[in-house]
Symmetry: C2
Subunit: 100 residues, 2 copies
Amino acid sequence: MVDQLEIFKALSNKSRLDILNWLKEPQSSFPGQEVYGFEHGVCVGQIQQKAGLTQSTVSEYLSILQRAGLVKSTRVGQWTYYQRNEETFQVLSRLIQSEI
Amino acid sequence: MVDQLEIFKALSNKSRLDILNWLKEPQSSFPGQEVYGFEHGVCVGQIQQKAGLTQSTVSEYLSILQRAGLVKSTRVGQWTYYQRNEETFQVLSRLIQSEI
DNA sequence: TTTACATATCGACTTTTCCCGATATTCCTA
DNA sequence: TAGGAATATCGGGAAAAGTCGATATGTAAA
């Protein structure tokens, strides 16, 4: 169950759009961070560094993206890895074509 | 030239989403208003009544939607008719599939 | 089991958005 | 060309979003 409005609000912020874009191709967006591995996505710290925002802000933004269904997270040890939830993007794309 | 961020901001409001939806099928969304004709879209007053917002707010919202490229307007006499700009919706849909 | 680190949450402040009433502009008609 | 109707713009108060620093929570390693 997707909430259009919540998705659009989540997408109404430059930094959050950037983050989603970086997560499209983690290896090229976060070079030299292979040490963390990318199987589960990218961890908060890496994103924070690249975004140039505080840790709390990035954590908050990732929650917003997750609540909207645009990303999903996996906890591995002390790290939380985030990756895109492509399904939602597909649903949204179709929604815009037919529903909105 | 579409500005993603501007589009998403325009879509981040319940009333504006409603308006876009009403404009999908003017005849069924605005019954009994055939007197105005629908060739050029729907005029501000009709939308205002249905939205239950003030005239100034609706006018403002329509400007926001227009700046984002989601609607286009035609002035006919003292009326300004608004209609959807379907092209932008198609572009946006594809953008979400491939770019964002 | 204490410590150190990664992330999440909280409280506060600033900026933006929402939405209104009042006023201005545009255009038609008498 | 004066008046009236439709729309646009302006100024402002309230609510929401953006963003931070400080603190709490969870997890791993010493």
